[in-house]
């Protein structure tokens, strides 16, 4: 079966430092893949590299049969690869609706699109605050808005960088449900996570990254049984 996203030999540098070392990654259609690892292991850099936000970066990134490693960020996004960065980056002066407007793009062939109303169903909290400036929302509401904003671009795949970070356990549960809804909608999703409990609830497969290298790949179920690996890299 052909992969939705296929990454080979990805190397990234920041200043003089070699951050990613031959990273490989695959994700299929309608699959949730978890990229696990501690902070500084290279999860965020991997995502940023995939969408062209890392200046010095080489390797092969095939998305929907197309090499995208040499494309600028906005072109990659417009091909349908959505990206939600870890610090949310809501436009705090803009209202919820205006935030969504910035993310809006035309529908793509073969991708089920999203309307504002569908997103308000997915994240009911947002519906009540359409005209509220982003800066006056709580952390959990902002996290939902940032995902909704990316979905407005009608992506076929979404990269979610640490969606559970800094959220209360109850909101994290809601987030897990929303991600499963997105999967049902037909999206491929890669999440980067430190919270294994959360990742386990939603992921089909998992990669573990450590010091910029992929150290493990397998199904989430296999990883869950493998205490040795979990102790070595995640130490739960």
């Amino acid at each position: 079966m052909k992969s939705k996203l296929d990454v080979h030999g990805l190397n990234s540098y920041y200043g003089g430092a070699h951050i990613l070392n031959n990273v490989h990654l695959k994700a299929n259609a309608s699959e949730v893949v978890a990229l696990l690892g501690r902070n500084g292991a290279g999860k965020s850099t991997t995502f940023a590299s995939l969408v062209g936000l890392v200046e010095r970066c080489k390797g092969s990134i095939i998305f929907d049969d197309q090499e995208i490693s040499d494309k600028p960020t906005h072109e990659i996004i417009r091909l349908g690869l959505g990206y939600v960065p870890e610090d949310r980056r809501i436009f705090t002066d803009l209202t919820v609706e205006e935030n969504l407007l910035v993310g809006k793009q035309d529908e793509r062939d073969g991708v089920r699109g999203w309307t504002e109303e569908m997103l308000f169903t997915l994240f009911p909290n947002l519906a009540e605050m359409r005209h509220r400036p982003g800066g006056q929302m709580s952390g959990g509401e902002q996290q939902m808005l940032t995902i909704a904003r990316t979905l407005m671009g009608n992506p076929s795949m979404v990269l979610l960088d640490e969606p559970s970070e800094g959220l209360s356990p109850k909101i994290v549960e809601e987030m897990a449900n929303a991600i499963l809804e997105m999967k049902k909608h037909g999206l491929s999703i890669i999440i980067s996570e430190q919270n294994l409990h959360f990742a386990r609830l939603i992921s089909d497969r998992a990669y573990i990254i450590e010091k910029g290298e992929i150290r493990y790949e397998g199904t989430m179920a296999d990883l869950d049984k493998n205490d040795e690996i979990k102790n070595a890299y995640l130490a739960v």
Binding site: V51, P72, H74, R89, D93, L94, V102, G153
Partner: protein, 619 residues
């Protein structure tokens, strides 16, 4: 009463042009973070091109067509500059971008003289609007009424653009977080080009509609850029409505100030700006700068003590300076003394902006106060040089103590603009207070003591004082106080959390920088034998910035080398060509593109030790 009303209307009609220019500046800054010094030059170009077109095209359509086409042409020119030059330097520190646009300004100023000549040009009246209407028995030009309407119309148009179109919402989003906008699939490069073009269009339009009112001349850029900056600061950066309010305030201030306070009319706006900033540190409608914006001139490379290799270089340079008098003539020695003095000036500015994180657009204030301190001591007390050198800097210190107390309460561009305001206020006092300071004529006859009166002796004296002062600055930078100052720059939050009284530390740093600058001014007064209001003026403050940035802000040696290169170059260029502005401007632009880390930073990166990288790889 009637007269006052007419004066009020006059103010309103000037406000429109000011608003056009200032809103353009504000929008460009908001999105691209570029402090566009060339904005005044685009305003001037708009006026010149409109002059040519309205002379060539007849009738009302020709006139208004000419105005619009002129603004459009200049906007396209601006777009070209953005695409060719600015796109290369968006990742550079913000002050470097300022420097590049300063270079562009110099080039445009000279080009304008080459194309249109140095004479003032009087533009045509607008056809059909060249009459006047009767208001309370006074004749008021019809054209002015059109201008009065233009401001609010443009404000509404901009409001609709930013709130009712997707492009406008994208611009507002990019103002907050440009990386995120491109991560949502927006082509950031073209968004920037569009915003820059819009901003330049507004500036050029502001210039073009001026031609029936005022003569077009080649110095109109400097005056308007300073006013526009003041307006943007009073209104709050990136806030169009704030710019509108502030334009109104400044225009009316100009209009009535000339009647009420003729002596200080030129600096009224600076006084108002200072007052506004003291009450509202981010302008009338501005908000605290968001996390997305790093402090001006912020750097992260840790300062390191000199390596053995670097020490050898310093010794070699010292040796060159020591033996220079053996083979150099008086002219060279004079230039050598000047370079040394400006090295101290630049180093003192670096202490404030590089180490302290407080960018100053008015560092000449303390230089000038020092120089005038000497002049006054010599003129009124006939004080000998040896005593004057020690006492004169006290005037600069006093100035820094007062101005600094206000300035350290602000941050970023607002702080920088307040330093400019205080420099202008000082300049104005000196310029206007004829009886004491000699006003425009300056004070003459400030000669060194007998023993130091020949070039060689004076050169050695300067060398000793400057080297001692530079050594002192270096020691301060590596002392606990210097570290604390740097800490306040790095993280206010952390400084506060470990018991550092930030205001006191920065105030103290401000005063120290001012006193070294004053010392440089003292030496300069003796070198030239006279003092003039120029010593305290904006161009000298800008020169200081150029020197620091040219050399590189992240090292202690950078500003010193920057001062040497800048002074030597400008001396050579000015003495060999009349196109010195074009050459200097082009040189600055090329340097900014080729050496985004400054000259010293560039060499460090190329040839310096790679310890950090090695340390990183070992991890």
């Amino acid at each position: 009463m009637d007269f006052l009303f007419i004066q009020f209307l006059n103010g309103l009609s000037s406000a429109s042009s000011l608003f056009l220019v200032a809103s353009g500046l504000s929008i460009i800054f908001g999105v691209t973070h570029i402090t566009n010094f060339a904005h005044g030059a685009f305003y001037m170009l708009g006026a010149y091109v409109a002059y040519t077109l309205t002379e060539a095209w007849m009738g009302a359509i020709g006139f208004w067509g000419g105005i619009i086409v002129a603004a459009g042409t200049v906007a396209l020119f601006g777009a070209l500059i953005e695409i060719i030059l600015l796109r290369r330097i968006y990742r550079s520190p913000e002050l470097f971008q300022l420097l590049a646009t300063f270079g562009i300004t110099l080039i445009i100023e000279d080009l304008v003289i080459q194309v249109w000549g140095a004479e003032d040009l009087l533009g045509r009246r607008a056809p059909g609007l060249d009459g006047a209407i009767d208001i309370f028995g006074q004749a008021f030009p019809t054209y002015e009424l059109v201008l009065i309407a233009l401001g609010p119309i443009c404000l509404c148009a901009l409001w609709l653009l930013f709130n009712r179109t997707r492009w406008g919402v994208l611009v507002r989003a990019a103002t907050q977080d440009r990386m995120m906008v491109s991560a949502l699939g927006v082509n950031q490069a073209w968004l920037f080009t569009g915003v820059f073009t819009l901003g330049v269009f507004l500036a050029a339009l502001g210039g073009a509609v001026q031609i029936p009112r005022d003569a077009v001349h080649n110095a109109m850029d400097l005056q308007i850029i300073v006013e526009a900056f003041v307006i943007v600061v009073i209104g709050g950066f990136g806030n169009v409505l704030g710019a509108f309010l502030a334009s109104f305030i400044i225009a009316e201030l100009n209009s009535f100030g000339i009647l009420l306070f003729p002596k200080i009319s030129m600096i009224l706006m600076f006084i108002v700006m200072a007052l506004v900033l003291v009450v509202r540190p981010y302008g009338l409608l501005g908000k605290a700068e968001t996390h997305a914006r790093t402090a001006l001139g912020n750097v992260v490379r840790p300062l390191a003590p000199l390596t053995r290799k670097a020490k050898n270089w310093v010794l070699a340079a010292l040796l060159v300076f020591l033996i220079l008098p053996i083979f150099a003539d008086d002219f060279v020695l004079n230039v050598g003394s000047e370079i040394l003095i400006f090295a101290l000036f630049a180093a003192s500015l670096h202490l404030m902006m590089g180490v302290g994180g407080m960018v100053s657009f008015g560092h000449a204030a303390y230089f000038g106060l020092g120089a005038y301190g000497v002049a006054l001591l010599v003129k009124f007390l006939n004080m000998p040089m040896e005593a004057a050198i020690v006492i004169a800097p006290l005037l600069a210190i006093a100035g820094a103590i007062i101005f600094g107390w206000f300035c350290v309460r602000l941050s970023g561009v607002y702080l920088a603009m307040l330093t400019l305001a205080f420099a202008q206020i000082s300049w104005s006092i000196i310029f206007q207070w004829d009886d004491v300071t000699g006003g425009d004529n300056g004070l003459l006859g400030i000669w060194p003591s007998e023993w130091a009166s020949n070039q060689q002796a004076f050169y050695y004296m300067t060398l000793v004082i400057v080297i001692a002062a530079l050594y002192a600055i270096r020691r301060i930078i590596f002392s606990p106080f210097g570290y604390t100052l740097r800490g306040c720059r790095d993280s206010l939050l952390r400084a506060d959390a470990i018991g550092i009284d930030r205001l006191r530390i920065q105030w103290f740093g401000f005063v120290l920088a001012g006193s070294f600058s004053g010392l440089a001014g003292v030496l300069y007064a003796y070198l030239k034998g006279s003092v003039f209001p120029d010593y305290i003026s904006i161009p000298l403050s800008v020169d200081g910035l150029v020197m620091v940035l040219l050399g590189g802000i992240q090292t202690v040696a950078g500003p010193i080398i920057g001062a040497g290169v800048f002074k030597a170059l400008s001396t050579i260029i000015i003495s060999h060509t009349e196109f010195w502005k074009i050459i200097l401007g082009a040189f600055i632009v090329i340097l900014v593109v080729a050496f985004p880390q400054g000259i010293v930073g560039f060499f460090l990166e190329r040839f310096g030790s790679k310890e950090e990288d090695i340390a990183e790889e070992k991890q």
